[in-house]
């Protein structure tokens, strides 16, 4: 309503615009009408609705499907709780302390649920797929990439020449190559660089390649954060008698990481989108499932339905991540020590 009023006011000032705006409004209406009528009438959603378990879990054994489904639902629930519950210091302290640990525990939980162990039967990684694989790839690579990226950033800003130059070389080379080449390299060459006896599965290879790649980007974002910390902070820490390591751990890094959160969020969202590249390299994650379905002659001409569905899912995941990051960014102390 407010937008309408603003538009009317705007058009009063710019008469030519009002003609154009009317045209655009007509166009938008037409597009909206066409899309809605396609979604409701013309589209045949059976290709999606009959394969919902496939999209969620891939070719996971049907009697064990509850495991990836449980993990996805726990993640969804945790996301909702984190978004709804206000985390402010003082109020709701309990939630602020428990939620981070819930998030951390989701990773081992996901691995156990997917792979088996602790009384659950083993499911080989080639049976993993769909949304559960997409999320697992994202979470595992992000968790590996973050510490490695922080180390690289510290090396890049170190005053020791050897550390600085080797980190810089790694970061620059990694940022120069396209991801798909790194993934291809990982798929083909990681086995060549390892002793013959050691064989690692394809999901792990992909995770390693994603993490090695993402770490270079994380390093640059963290470096931006490190550079934003005034030198006086380190000096103040030194005056208080903190060792360089303590100063880094207690004073510099927490602030630098907080500054880097928006950029790191973008990297995480990029990572989730990039897991779709594995569809080209033989893993059936979310996009791979869509591709496999469309290769089935029974679903010829159902491309648009599948792509719209996949697009909506990816959009949902990425938006949820962006919202989560905004929540983290706005909770806790800022640089000035005030609560945002």
């Amino acid at each position: 309503m407010r937008a309408c009023k603003a538009l009317i006011r705007h058009c009063r000032f710019y008469p030519i615009d009002s003609v154009l705006s009317l045209g655009v409004i007509a166009l938008i209406n037409w597009v909206l009408w066409a899309s809605v009528s396609w979604i409701v009438q013309a589209a045949d959603w059976s290709v999606v609705s009959t394969h919902l378990p496939l999209f969620a879990t891939g070719s996971y054994p049907p009697d064990q499907r509850w495991r990836p489904l449980l993990w996805i639902s726990l993640l969804a629930a945790l996301t909702l709780i984190t978004l709804i519950v206000p985390i402010k210091r003082g109020s709701n302290r309990w939630m602020g302390m428990v939620l981070p640990w819930c998030w951390v525990s989701m990773i081992p939980l996901g691995l156990v649920l997917m792979a088996g162990g602790l009384g659950l039967s083993n499911v080989p990684s080639r049976a993993w797929g769909g949304i559960s694989l997409t999320l697992l790839l994202t979470v595992c690579s992000a968790v590996l990439a973050l510490p490695f990226g922080i180390l690289l950033a510290l090396g890049r800003t170190s005053d020791l020449p050897v550390l600085r130059h080797s980190s810089r070389l790694y970061i620059d080379v990694m940022r120069a190559v396209p991801l798909i080449a790194v993934l291809f390299f990982g798929k083909l060459l990681i086995p060549l660089f390892l002793p013959m006896q050691l064989e690692i599965n394809q999901v792990l290879r992909a995770v390693v390649a994603f993490a090695l790649f993402a770490a270079a980007y994380v390093a640059e974002d963290v470096r931006g954060g490190l550079q934003a910390i005034p030198q006086t902070q380190r000096e103040a820490a030194a005056v208080l008698g903190l060792s360089p390591l303590q100063s880094l751990q207690l004073v510099v890094l927490p602030q630098a990481l907080r500054i880097a959160i928006p950029a790191l969020t973008n990297q995480a969202i990029g990572l989730l989108q990039n897991t779709s590249l594995m569809a080209l390299l033989g893993l059936v994650e979310l996009l791979g499932i869509g591709r496999n379905l469309l290769a089935n002659p029974a679903f010829i001409g159902r491309h648009l339905e599948v792509y719209v569905w996949l697009g909506a899912l990816y959009w949902l995941f990425c938006t949820a991540m962006a919202l989560l990051a905004r929540k983290i960014e706005h909770s806790g102390p800022t640089l000035n020590g005030r609560s945002a």
Binding site: A6, S21, V162, S166, V173, L179, I180, L192
Partner: protein
Amino acid sequence: MKGTRRWLLQLAVVVLLLTLMGVLINNLAVNLIRTGLGLSFSWLSRPTGFALAEHALPYRPSDSYAWALLVGWINSLKVISAGLVAATTLGVLAGSARRSTNPLLRGLAALYVSVVRQIPLLLQLFFWYFVALLGLPQSNPSPLGSLFSLTNQGIAILGVHLSVEFTAVLLGLSVFTGASIAEVVRGGLDSVPRGQWEAYRSLGLSERLGLRKVVLPQALPAILPGLSSQYLNLAKNSTLAIAVGYSDLYSVSDTSITQTGRAIEGFLLLLLSFLLLNLLINAVMQVLNRAVIRRGQRS
């Protein structure tokens, strides 16, 4: 005392890195001997035996791998340079639209950015190729006749024929990168103080003239660094062309590696080509950057 510790620490890092590399290279050598491969680049002069759908230079399957890679490199350059122009145009338009006085335009631009940036490029490429372009009719009689035709065989504009694969990659890259560039442009516009906008409006300049003469020149120094990183992203993302069968550098390398089994050599060549491409884009952007800074100092 502190100096010795610094040296010891660096020495430790060097030893660690060398050991790591030694172990990796040793494993590699063992594995290469085991598979009977060894390192060699002589395969580059052998005939490829595969056809390339698109080639700016004359190319036959009897030509060498080196030639095929060059043809692929030119195909990559073609789609990257066209993509840079299209993405920049789209990004600047959408980015400026987000700060337009027209709420409708603002809303449309915001919708474009928020939808496109949250969907993987690969999915978008599939959409452009399989739905938008291959979904076109076989023949599409248009009133413009020979000037412009749009069919599932490709696009013809004034006698220039663009293949469906090329068009799909171009559309995908420019729409996707355009959204990111729009964010960069918006950030740059926001870095110009509000007073400057109010000043040109109170001087009676039109929105378009004010944007061009007052705001953009001041926003450019903030926009250019972000822009060049988006350009590098576009160049790297162009390798996804393999998904729709456009024979770019990566796709040719991929086929060559699969046929010859020369993964390490192929990967090294790919790495070199991309380092070269990055240096090229960086150099161009640096020249631009300097020109902008110099202009800013003069005025």
